[in-house]
Amino acid sequence: MIGDWLDIGPVTQISPGNARTLPVQAPNGENLEEIAIFHTMGGEFFALVNKCPHKHGPLSQGIVHGTVVTCPLHSWNISLKTGHALGDDKGCVPTVPLKVDAGRLYLLREAVIGAMAPERAA
């Protein structure tokens, strides 16, 4: 399993309550998509495709509370754990398995690429 994890740097890059982005790029250098990496106040890390299931708002820019992010565009609440919209809203954004080891963050490589697949075909 070890080799399949992508090291994206130390945990200290993202302070609790914040999120940062990881652009995944095509061969020509164009951004295909962004992954948003969240650090909750409770100290957990999550990775999701940075696109709200509603109208593609950048989730990384929302307010993080508990394990939920409130989308900055129209305030849908998205679960960081599952990517599902909460409450009455319906929709889901792909999540990317993330692990923390010895102070560094790792994303599951296949999932990063998998999350991009539809864009790649387009």
């Binding site: 740097g9 302070s15 609790p16 250098g29 593609h56 394990t67 490589r109």
Partner: protein, 832 residues
């Protein structure tokens, strides 16, 4: 691979244990208890002493225990059980083929079974100066002796790491008279065991005891003087003097020997459920192992591992399945407990109880009728009960309502299904509200007297009107007394609290609350870290209440305010530089045109607020475009903020044939006085040069209409969703008075309105008379309010674009890294 199968032999098997620590010796005890004759045991220990209780090193440091008190197995135990102890002589290699181990002294011993129990090594952060004399770790008795020697001389101690070990070291050194500073990288102490709320309480308590706690402190170097440690420098340049530096940033399983011997090792030595390594003759136990993906750093799991190990080693395999752990901090007077998963989330329900008066915070996390986590601060008496429920995965549906009140209450006859039962059982003279000395009888008679809502009870008998910790009791009394007739209370700030906006604002001042976690604790928030509604509101209320003192919490700001630009539907941003009073110059226009070209603005638009808006700017480019606009003398237009937006003007007496006063000039002065202020909602001003009102001053939050004899001041207009014309506030003769009343009105609004309430709905709610009274009843009110506004502005008028262009909060604009999966794999680290 299951358990060890016996080696057919007529002599006892030779068991060698590497590591004379807690797990190694406990494993031997467990084996002896099952079969005292099966093995002859030899134990190698790197430390030159007998087996002792490592966790009690903290009390030894604190002076509460001596080494003799913490010995687990003295020399007599080894003798009685025929165990050979080779101490002070670490094993340096294992020959798996020949089944022997060799120690540093050269001594070689053969084994039939080998047990590796080497524990962990403290992690040393790789900074310059890490090897200086005076830099110590906290792992064994030698470390404690070094700390005691330093404490003898007194002076400054710096502890790097605000986890369990670091805080226990800090506590010990502080008790020994040292001046202690704790440096912690994360914003919350013990963040892996505590949530933000409990971490904040812990930090406050340690600070009250005189320790200095620096969170978000990233060590850059350890400083030297005369060949000895002299201080620590942080990445932000701050230096802290130190006569001793304790590194307590974490531990790493000690796997060197196993790795060298070719055993399978990841983070720890890989073992199966019977603690067998990849070599069936070799077992491993304790902190050095990795079992089902987990490594442990506490003793409870080690005891469970040792039981399974002994079962397997004596022919009755049982199998270890992993442990759930709980944490306590051994700092006298601080009661803290955490267990399980407290991150909450989907399907999880948080039950929070806070008692500010007693400094209590309790939170249990329930999922599908099972307890999955608990964090307790201040009273940990129920910790073990919660931990037990958690480990057993017990169904708690029946006691759910009473769970947070603890075992005695939840299990106490009959109370279980009805949360009101315990309150009903209280005597008439039982005190309900400690702050205001209100008894149950008084509350009940107030309710009988017609108070049928929480708010009415609060205003009529003061119960729960102060700190609010008895709100739940008062609500129960309302429910018991009135049943369904209870009226809903006033609108609360959000679902996380029982308090209204006004109450929260009043209590922030009365109780001098100066941080978001402090408000949440003192006012008994029912969630651990609030929600997207209350965090921004609290951030604003604190900013308004404590100018220059409160540190803005960026995480509690809506994206536009955090990024100082308006987010657009495609995730790009729009940039609106300030154009004072709607007046611009060729130079400014050139700079805007250049910026539009350089950063590929897809549209430049004249806004409804008399200025230019550049659309389609990427978040990475924002600091650069701001730097360019700054260079041409322009600052942020705050088109994104709950703050002063624009001051719209008309040309006025300078050009217009009807103009009565210099409306453009007054507009610019007003904008210069008010820009940068944070408000409950956005705030717009306009100044028109005559009653023809070309600047539309009568639909602004504050509008000025110039007339021959002076200035008419209007308030509470809104041209937005619900059109509202202004109310005339007053008429004044001079610009000076107009500016003062503008400042005073804004401050009154800032101090009294609810967050996200514009002036129009605010005035509709409180009435124009209330506003007039606030400004004019006391002849000095205008001056006082204006002075408070100007004082607050002295901190706010600091162009946020300029600060960002200089590099502040750079990470908000930068990606973490880039990932290029096609066609070549190449990962680039984040630039800085």
């Amino acid at each position: 691979m299951t358990a060890l199968h016996p080696i057919p032999t007529d002599r006892p098997e030779r068991l060698i244990v590497i590591g004379n620590g807690m797990a190694g010796c406990r494993a031997v005890e467990e084996i002896l208890a099952r079969d005292a004759t099966r093995y002859t045991v030899t134990i190698f220990g790197a430390e030159p002493r007998v087996n002792y209780n490592r966790i009690m090193l903290s009390p030894v440091l604190a002076g509460e225990k001596t080494f003799d008190d913490i010995v687990i197995n003295g020399a007599d135990w080894y003798a009685q059980n025929n165990i050979t102890l080779i101490s002070g002589d670490p094993v340096v290699s294992i020959d798996r083929a020949g089944q022997t181990v060799t120690a540093r002294s050269g001594r070689t011993e053969p084994y039939d079974r080998l047990l590796i129990a080497t524990g962990s090594d403290p992690f040393i952060i790789p900074v310059p100066g890490k090897d200086l004399p005076g830099v110590v770790t906290f792992r064994d008795l030698d470390d404690v002796d070094k700390m005691l020697a330093a404490a003898e001389k007194g002076g400054h101690a710096v502890v790097i790491g605000g986890g369990l070990l670091g805080l226990e070291a800090a506590h010990g050194l502080a008790l020994r008279g040292m001046d202690v500073t704790v440096l912690h990288l994360m914003p919350t102490l013990m963040e892996r065991q505590l949530d933000e709320a409990a971490g904040w309480l812990l930090k406050s308590e340690l600070e009250r005891r005189g320790q200095t706690i620096l969170t978000g402190a990233d060590t850059a170097a350890i400083l030297e003087k005369d060949g000895h440690v002299a201080g620590v420098r942080l990445k932000d340049g701050k230096e802290i003097p130190a006569d001793i530096v304790v590194m307590a940033v974490g531990i790493r399983p000690s796997t060197g020997l196993a790795r060298l011997a070719g055993l399978e090792v990841e983070r720890g030595i890989l073992v199966d459920d019977h603690m067998l390594t990849s070599d069936p003759a070799i077992m491993a136990v304790g902190e050095c192992v990795q079992h089902r993906g987990a490594c442990y750093g506490l003793v409870a799991p080690l005891w469970e591992m040792c039981r399974s190990l002994a079962d397997a080693a004596t022919g009755t395999p049982s199998g270890y399945e992993g442990s759930v752990t709980s944490t306590k901090l051994k700092v006298s007077g601080i009661d803290l407990f955490s267990a399980g998963d407290f991150s909450g989330g989907e399907g999880c329900e948080d039950i929070v109880m806070r008692d500010a008066a007693r400094g209590l915070y309790k939170r249990v996390i329930v999922k599908e009728n099972k307890l999955v986590g608990a964090v307790l601060y201040g009273d940990t008496a129920d910790g073990n009960w919660y931990f037990d429920l958690l480990k057993r995965g017990e169904d708690i549906a029946d006691i759910r309502e009473a769970l947070i009140f603890g075992q005695a209450f939840a299990m106490g006859g009959g109370a279980s299904n009805d949360p009101h039962a315990a309150v009903a059982a209280l005597s008439e003279d039982a005190e309900i509200c400690g702050c205001n000395g209100v008894t149950k009888g008084m509350v009940v008679s107030t309710i009988h007297g017609g108070a049928c809502s929480l708010d009415a009870v609060r205003s009529q008998c003061k119960a729960s009107a102060s700190c609010g910790s008895c709100t739940g009791l008062v609500e129960s009394l309302l429910a018991i007394t009135l049943g369904d007739e209870v009226k809903a209370g006033p609108k609360t700030l959000c679902k996380c609290t029982k308090f209204s906006h006004d109450d929260v604002r009043r209590l922030i001042l009365e109780k001098e609350l100066k941080a978001i976690p402090q408000v949440m604790q003192e006012l008994h928030w029912t969630t651990p870290d609030g929600c997207a509604s209350c965090r921004p509101a609290l951030n604003y209320y604190l900013l308004c209440a404590w100018p220059g003192v409160y540190v803005d919490d960026q995480r509690s700001r809506f994206v536009n305010e955090r990024m100082h630009a308006n987010i657009q539907k495609d995730g790009t941003y729009s940039v609106v530089p300030r154009m004072w009073g709607g007046v611009t110059t060729p130079n400014e226009l050139r700079a805007i045109a250049d910026a539009a070209d350089k950063y590929g603005a897809r549209m430049v638009k004249v806004t409804g607020g008399q200025r230019l808006d550049l659309f389609g700017i990427k978040k990475e480019d924002l600091p650069d475009i701001w730097a360019d606009l700054n260079a041409a003398g322009m600052v942020s237009g705050h088109a994104y903020g709950k703050s002063l937006r624009t001051v719209k003007t008309c040309v006025g007496s300078e050009w217009c044939r009807f103009g009565t006063q210099d409306s453009t000039g007054l507009g610019i002065k007003t904008e210069q006085m008010t820009w940068g202020s944070w408000m409950p909602h956005k705030f717009k001003i306009a100044v028109s040069g005559c009653p023809r009102n070309c600047a539309e001053a009568t639909i602004k939050d504050f509008g000025v209409i110039c007339v021959d004899s002076g200035y008419e001041l209007h308030v509470g207009g809104n041209g937005g969703i619900h059109l509202r014309g202004t109310d005339l506030l007053c008429k004044v003769a001079t610009e000076r008075e107009a500016l003062d009343i503008c400042a005073a009105f804004i401050q009154l609004y800032r101090e009294q309105a609810w967050y996200l309430e514009r002036t129009a709905p605010w005035i509709e709610r409180v009435g124009l008379d209330h506003v007039k009274a606030g400004l004019f009843d006391d002849p000095e009110a205008v001056q006082h309010l204006a002075a408070r506004f100007r004082y607050s502005q002295s901190f706010m008028q600091d162009d946020p674009w300029a600060r960002r262009a200089k590099g502040e909060d750079a990470e908000l604009h930068q990606h973490l890294a880039e990932f290029r999966p096609f066609p070549t794999m190449q990962i680039k680290e984040a630039a800085e």
